[in-house]
Amino acid sequence: MIAMSGNTFANDKLKTADARVVSEYSTISPQTEFWLAVEISPKDKWHTYWINPGDAGLATSVDFSLPEGFEIIDTIWQIPIKFEFEGMASYGYDQKHFIFYKFRSPKELIQRKYRIKAIVNWLGCKDICIPEKKEVEITLKSADKSIINKDFNKIFKKIPNKYNGALTAKISNKKLTIELPNDIATSKDLYVLPFSEGIIDNSATQKITSIPGQNFIEIKLDNFHIEIPEKFQALIINKKDAKLVSIIINK
């Protein structure tokens, strides 16, 4: 698997994590869709954050510099874990994990090689927090035919499954109640994690209730919640996997 390390800014030794980028393809052809994975490896006892970091922390961000004609068409974060502490909760990773970016190469590839660079910014925390960044890059060869890296499939896992259809919800008494379809309400050990910060009380227990033929999950709203959008995305996470759902608020 093609992977490149990068330059660490200002010669600082990274204290909380390391980063590199790996590619699904070693050689790409024109108009090819392919994945690049930014690999972040927290050091012992440190963790980094998911797209919604929860009550504290900062989501990892990746700023790409792309050759002309290359575009990013999708992004997938691996399923995060929940950290609970001092009556609060955050979401992120304390083990090696990946953020996957789907690229499309241009109609014509006139160079023999293309370099894709990125600056990976993260906040590493344990009892204290340190912001860090690293420049990573990868060089891909171009040819008429793409050559895949067979090992890439080994890392393309812990991915949320996209759920077909939207879930409906209502807000009353400072709670968000979501109706769970039968194919989601398969376990009592599941919880809902919005992609947006500031909607739910991250440390409150989410309560699953049932009436004949219907299942609901009741979630306390954040005490100072943001204006809740009419439609938002969330993960529904259980012990085995996670589903990526759209939630629509019924007014």
Binding site: F85, G87, I128
Partner: protein, 203 residues
């Protein structure tokens, strides 16, 4: 006897004290919960002492990179000064527990305040975290604005760009500035709450 007199005074004046439970009781649009804390110079303050003035509560931890973002570039100091000059009371509150990041003795706190030239009205010590939990303070910084009538009118982030880069300060909307400017000119506050960002409060 002294305890009996103290209790009588509390009941007579209806002074609220921090509840023992960790449940947050602060709510936007309602009276900000009263509290009594001692500052880094040994002076005790009640929030109710400042009724009639706008009050800003700023949860602080000098060693948090997000707090440093605003103090290293003088953003917080300039904001503080600008609004203290308009009569706003600025209370910095540290809820870091003993042995945790941000918990310093008074000498160190006052040394840091002097070196940063930070001119808050008081740096209040909340080492048992009761007031932090009363307000639901999650991060440092986490900001609250209280109106002269004692109503909580803003809660959340200091500004609109979640980062540790001080270069972002100039590009961001400062929510405290916006809330105070709007409230002081009699306008409705456009953004009453935002998701605070920062290090977790070290309860």
């Amino acid at each position: 006897m002294t305890t009996m007199i103290a209790l009588a005074i509390i009941f007579a004046f209806g002074i609220a004290v921090a509840p023992a439970s960790a449940e947050s009781t602060a709510e936007l649009g309602k009276q900000a919960p009263n509290f009594t804390l001692t500052d880094s110079k040994g002076i005790t303050h009640n929030l109710s002492d400042f009724k009639g003035k706008y009050v800003v509560l700023e949860w602080i931890n000098f060693d948090c990179p997000f707090v440093k973002k605003h103090y290293d570039g003088d953003n917080m100091q300039n904001l503080l000064k600008a609004y203290r000059d308009k009569g706003v009371v600025w209370l910095s509150i540290c809820s870091s527990a003993p042995e945790k990041q941000g918990n310093f003795d008074n000498a160190e706190i006052n040394k840091r305040i002097a070196s940063l030239k930070a001119n808050m009205n008081a740096y209040l010590i909340d080492a048992d975290g009761k007031v932090g939990k009363m307000y639901g303070a999650k991060t440092t910084p986490n900001m609250y604005v209280i109106s002269p009538s004692g109503e909580l009118i803003y809660a959340g982030a200091i500004d609109s760009i979640k980062s540790t880069d001080k270069e972002d300060v100039a590009k961001a909307e400062n929510y405290i500035k916006s809330a105070l400017d709007e409230a002081m000119s009699g306008k409705a506050i456009k953004t009453k709450s935002t998701q605070p960002y920062g290090c977790s409060v070290k309860y």
